[in-house]
């Protein structure tokens, strides 16, 4: 896999897409399809979560099967804040990022001692532990999860309206994608990509490989926590299901469909998968069969993901 370099068309396309998304709520209102604004917010949230996994997986080369743990922890931080009467987003969202990030730091500090398959499995084990902890935590609703009756405020502006939450999510996604784009080209991004390519060599050159990996892993966890906090506000519930390993699998599938290590891989994957779900579910109850066949087709015929089908690689 080659180093990430932004394509020339990337900036204009991103600006056009952003403009279109800014106009989306008004457009849906005109078309009288207000229901879809919630769906669009969900897609953006999963785009954020999948992009955070892409940072860990695509750029850092760490195949984590436990990313949903950080996603779910972020959701629970938002719900617990709500339970404690804290509804200011400027406090809740950074707190969700900090808690998820610190948790990822701890998990990474143990997991990153292992390699390959063992790493996949130990991240999975940590996610399962977190899942069972929340399932049996009766003060946080146990199996049923912890509800959020009223969405948070952001600098005093209520996010109770669907449009407001959509714009807040769009803001979070835009900021994160800008950060990831800058990061991938910065010294840090170069270093973690080089570690992905040849760990031994980077070690020999004197880079603190373990520390770089750990920071990348924790940063991915923090952004996943942000996505989780937003999702809990959208659905009004922090549920243990968010931490289940199938959720980690779904996030992985999104990144792989979109294209591992492409800046937009996570976003493309989330959009494709959730749109497919919405469309297929409308005419086929057992849409998972269709989805499964499609995933198999992607593995066998488009191994580099959908993002790779459009034009050549960035390099």
């Amino acid at each position: 896999m080659a180093f990430y370099r932004p394509a020339r068309w990337q900036k204009p396309v991103a600006v056009v897409v952003l403009a279109a998304l800014l106009a989306l709520p008004s457009l849906l209102e005109i078309l009288d399809q207000g229901y879809y604004i919630g769906f669009a917010t969900r897609v953006l949230i999963f785009a954020l979560a999948a992009s955070s996994l892409n940072l860990v997986l695509g750029f850092g080369g760490m195949v984590s099967l436990g990313h949903a743990a950080f996603f779910g922890v972020g959701a629970y931080v938002a719900a617990i804040c709500h339970q404690a009467g804290i509804n200011e987003g400027l406090l809740v969202l950074p707190l969700a990022m900090a808690v998820a990030g610190l948790f990822a730091l701890a998990v990474g500090a143990v997991s990153l001692r292992t390699r390959g398959v063992y790493f996949i499995m130990i991240t999975l084990a940590f996610a399962q532990m977190t899942y069972y902890l929340f399932v049996s935590a009766s003060m946080w609703g146990g199996d049923d999860g912890l509800p959020i009756y009223e969405r948070m405020h952001l600098a005093g502006i209520s996010l109770a309206g669907d449009d407001a939450l959509f714009f807040a999510t769009l803001g979070a996604l835009t900021a994160s994608m800008l950060l990831f784009s800058r990061l991938a080209q910065a010294r840090f991004g170069r270093t973690i990509q080089a570690i992905r390519e040849n760990e031994t060599r980077m070690e020999a050159l004197g880079y603190p490989v373990f520390r770089y990996r750990l920071i990348c892993f924790a940063l991915g966890g923090a952004v996943a926590g942000l996505a989780g906090a937003l999702l809990a506000n959208l659905t009004g519930l922090a549920s243990p299901n968010l931490l289940q390993w199938t959720q980690s699998g779904t996030l992985l599938v999104m990144v792989i469909i979109g294209g591992v290590g492409y800046l937009w891989g996570g976003v493309v994957g989330a959009v494709v998968l959730l749109l497919l779900e919405e469309v297929l579910l409308a005419w086929f109850d057992h849409w998972h069969i269709a989805l499964g066949l499609l995933l198999l087709a992607v593995v066998l015929f488009a191994p580099k993901g959908v993002a790779a089908l459009f034009g050549k690689r960035h390099d």
Binding site: V110, M121, G249, W287
Partner: protein, 304 residues
């Protein structure tokens, strides 16, 4: 107290042996072919469904078990030839994605064919009652499961440690390229191992069917446990799978049965009520993380 402990220890042994049936196939597929098969749990589920359906049709548990195992083996053969062959040379990510897709397809297809309600599978009538051992009563059927598990473990030991095919399997697990270079038909060996693993899945699914519900999603939870087992034991090692399965089975069963009581003696009642079940369900994952921390290759690494 000792009776409870003995009974739970037997339950743990029984659970561990069933985990071993699943883990044995998984660790070989994993170790020799370096292929992550998340769909191994789906083979277990499909196997249990095949056994239950065949047992209902034939009105005999043992006939159903035989037919179910044969059917799952055929399914495994078809899967290996059509899909897994292409996956061996791909990276772990592609394998995770493809087998995750298989889980989706398997779960939905089962739901389509048999409906969402669990299927009923009755143990053979002769074994329905309890028997008395050392002063307490224990279900006869569970004893039969233990006997089956021990027999398969012994058979596998003979097969892997003493036979020529077993030698190839061990050689393949420790160094695949070298084995190929020595002229062993590794492709055929892969197919045979995969089909054998599928048959063991169906055996475990069919035997556990009367104890647990035969339902959609039964494969996923057990798959994670099987992975924990082979990680603890060391990937590719049958001996490791047996030791790992017995550790996980006993620790999990005894933890669930005894930890709440134990905690109640040490902690205030409400704290023990929350902490007990939580600690019991994460115990094996703590164990796995701990073992990986000190022995990153598991207890019995095949590639020593």
């Amino acid at each position: 107290m000792t009776q409870l402990f003995l009974e739970q220890a037997l339950n743990g042994l029984q659970f561990g042996l069933m985990l071993f049936l699943l883990a044995a196939g998984l660790t070989l597929v994993f170790g020799i072919m370096d292929c992550i098969n998340l769909a191994h749990g789906s083979l277990y589920m499909v196997g249990a469904y095949f056994v239950a359906a065949a047992a209902q049709a034939a009105d005999s548990f043992w006939l159903g078990l035989g037919a179910g195992i044969a059917g799952t083996a055929v399914l495994g053969l078809l899967l290996e030839l059509s899909l897994f062959r292409q996956l061996y040379r791909r990276d772990h990510l592609a394998q995770v994605l493809a087998t995750f897709a298989l889980i989706l397809i398997a779960n939905e297809t089962v739901r389509l064919v048999w409906g969402p309600a669990p299927l009923l599978l009755n143990p053979p009538e002769a074994l329905a009652g309890p028997v008395e051992i050392a002063g307490f009563f224990y279900p006869a059927y569970r004893l039969v499961i233990i006997a089956f598990g021990l027999a398969v473990a012994g058979l596998l030991y003979l097969l892997v440690a003493k036979s020529r095919v077993g030698m190839w399997v061990r050689a393949g697990a420790s160094n695949r390229e070298m084995t190929e270079a020595l002229g062993i038909n590794v492709r055929g060996l892969f197919t045979a191992v995969f089909v054998f693993g599928a048959a063991l899945c169906a055996l475990a699914g069919g035997l556990l069917g009367p104890l647990l519900a035969v339902q959609v999603g039964m494969g996923e939870s057990v798959l994670i446990l099987a992975f924990v087992v082979i990680i603890i034991g060391g990937i590719g090692s049958i001996r490791g799978a047996l030791v790992g399965a017995l550790i996980v089975g006993t620790v999990d069963t005894l933890g669930r049965a005894l930890l709440p009581t134990l905690l109640r003696a040490l902690l205030p009642a409400d704290a023990a009520a929350t902490l007990g079940p939580a600690l019991a369900s994460i115990l094996i994952y703590l164990l796995m993380a701990g073992i990986l921390f000190f022995k990153p290759q598991g207890l019995f690494p095949a590639r020593a």
